[in-house]
Symmetry: C2
């Protein structure tokens, strides 16, 4: 058995972006990955402007309790004239500073009458002025290639006047479930059938992470049909995700099929829930084989498969740093690193009572994993690592 | 000025779900909010089944190093016959247990030959058996109304055989930007214009949070046009989000327009970036007026507007509990609670150098807010609260 850390490393090896680029408008770019760095064609803001409603002044001309002529009025969007000597300009938030002015005195500190104003306080140079280029400098790189676009990045790109960006095409993922016992939701199940939940779990994960899923039915537990399903899938997608059939039993056909079609690395990973995981290749298409139990699929997708999928998509992610929380539970040591389905509370972290790999309710109940290291018991009150599910799916 | 906590409370008052229900298939349900609780029509799993490849046995019949007849073979999906006395059944992961059997001995602990098997270890009752209903009990509520559907909830619903769920229709949000200085990305900006970034920031936020946005152009800084824009918007949407024009200056028309069209509560909130925020009503439509600076929009949307939008959407959220991290920065006290755009590191939390409300880069640089309480300095090394952006947008 290899450790979770080794498995993550293996999963990330030889994982170069497989997707081509495409040009999308910024209102279609949320969650997409930048193919090229975004450079600023302009300064933001493009000129010095007022941060407040007030009066644009030459600070060295202003004294307290003295009348000044208001020589112009500058609402946002209007081109100011140069500031006349010994005068001030009425100015509003967002309006460009008139040439010659070096600060804004806010209207709350002024008394105005008949186009004249006097001030109750002075300003220092630069006060209430947003400097040209303070957010973005013309010619600078505002976002690197590989960055996933969140709402704030879309806003920043828009602020530079850019309406389209080059992003990676979406990674195309096919999901294949194995198991003769599977029936699709909405159909009538016979006595010995169970509903296919893994397909919907993985499809939703891919959608949430910004990949394109090419759907597919489940595969029967039969070698030749497994081979032809995998072969067809490889011609359609960048990645094949399978669930189940990855063990070494007589009813597990993924491994022998892969041996005929391409290459295969299979590991027993010291992860719970989980354990047998495979990474293979059919032509240029990656195959990631996950276990069959829903909680194992949930866990191994987030912890092992997703880091590889991100790299294939071209993403350069921020590091995930676990939270350190007090355990509101005790648990005996186990031989694998355990990803306990957990919930953060104001007291620390608590875990779902039934951590069986067959119990998907455990993942719905909470908001993250509490980590139990291999061969290590956890006593109540002890500090443990916690990773938010949302954070693992970071955009 | 009211505190952030008071403002959040005000924002959440009288916020009942405004959306009707609709039926969607589970592959369209990601990120949607349940209108009705989901009840389990079946047990999951529907019958006792084997958690491993091995042999189904009657534990009280089994001794070590004794030959047993293999009386049947049960792959997953096959209907088992009752277990014949003094025999065992070859069984595979996911296959239903035969009547009479009470445990599974894994194949690794067996030696088989010619349809006979002997065991190297014994099993206790229930070992390697997944009990009928261990994940979901028939008739129980598996998910409450108000729950947002993440991938794991979609998987759980699928596991019960349910193909469609009743969700709230998406909240319809109109975004109106005020400001004569605004020009849209992709167009040529004149000297005194700046690009509209708030519209794209808010549109992306709404998309990321699962709301429907009805787009709209920016409004000129003129009272009658503000009135007609707001009136039209109110007839189209459940919520109007505006940016800018919410202060009390001569160029701010949101407040006088609202007074003519409906009701308005405006507060100065002790939040930085931010400050003037308004909540109003035009007929049945909510209006939330945010400030004009991009970082203020970013912050007040996440902290003040979003909790209300969630309630209008029908969501019952999990509480957001900040992380406690060591500050890798010092900062003088301020008169408002400050939401510093920050980044979590393995050493603690660091902040973007320029925290000006005009600087949206600050939000792109990091992954969350470090919170600085009102009238409180922060010394390097001190513990501060940190909230992940992703967590604020939780699904």
């Amino acid at each position: 058995m290899i450790s979770v850390e080794q498995a993550i490393k293996q999963m990330q090896s030889h994982a170069r972006p497989v997707c081509k680029k495409e040009l999308v408008t910024i209102d279609q770019a949320l969650g997409r990955t930048l193919f090229s760095a975004v450079m600023a064609p302009i300064n933001v803001p493009p000129a010095d402007n007022s941060a407040m409603d007030g009066y644009a002044v030459r600070t060295n001309e202003i004294a307290l309790n003295t009348q000044y002529q208001i020589s112009q009025r500058i609402p946002a969007g209007k081109a100011p004239d140069p500031l006349q000597e010994s005068s001030v300009a009425r100015i509003f938030t967002g309006a460009n500073m008139p040439a010659g002015a070096d600060a804004v005195i806010i209207q709350e500190d002024s008394i105005s009458q008949n186009n004249q104003v006097q001030f109750k306080s002075l300003a220092v140079v630069g006060e209430n002025v947003r400097k040209c280029g303070q957010d973005v400098r013309k010619g600078s790189e505002i976002l690197p290639a590989g960055k996933v676009l969140r709402p704030q990045e879309i806003g920043l790109i828009a602020s530079c006047g850019i309406a389209e960006v080059e992003v990676y095409k979406k990674l195309r993922v096919i999901i294949l479930s194995t198991g003769d016992e599977l029936v699709e939701p909405g159909q009538k199940a016979k006595t010995n059938q169970i509903y296919n939940s893994n397909r919907f779990l993985l499809k939703s994960f891919c959608e949430a992470c910004g990949f394109e899923t090419i759907d597919s039915a489940s595969m029967p537990d039969e070698l030749n049909q497994t081979i032809s399903s995998l072969e067809k899938a490889a011609s359609q997608a960048d990645v094949i995700l399978t669930t189940g059939g990855v063990s070494v039993g007589e009813e597990d056909h993924i491994k022998p099929a892969l041996k005929q079609l391409g290459s295969l690395d299979m590991w027993k990973v010291a992860i719970k829930p989980g354990k047998p995981i495979a990474l293979g290749k059919i032509g240029d298409t990656d195959l990631i084989a996950l276990p069959g139990n829903p909680s194992s699929v949930f866990t191994t997708f987030l912890i092992l498969a997703l880091p590889r999928l991100r790299l294939l998509q071209g993403r350069s992610d921020m590091e995930i740093i676990p939270e350190i929380l007090s355990a509101n539970f005790s648990r005996a040591a186990g031989s694998r690193k355990e990803y306990l389905r957990a919930r953060k509370t104001s007291q620390g972290v608590e875990i779902f009572p039934n951590q069986s790999s067959g119990v998907l309710s455990s993942a719905c109940w909470g908001d993250g994993f509490a980590l139990q290291p291999q061969d290590t018991a956890i006593e109540s009150g002890q500090l443990v690592e916690f990773i938010d599910y949302q954070r693992l799916m970071q955009r």
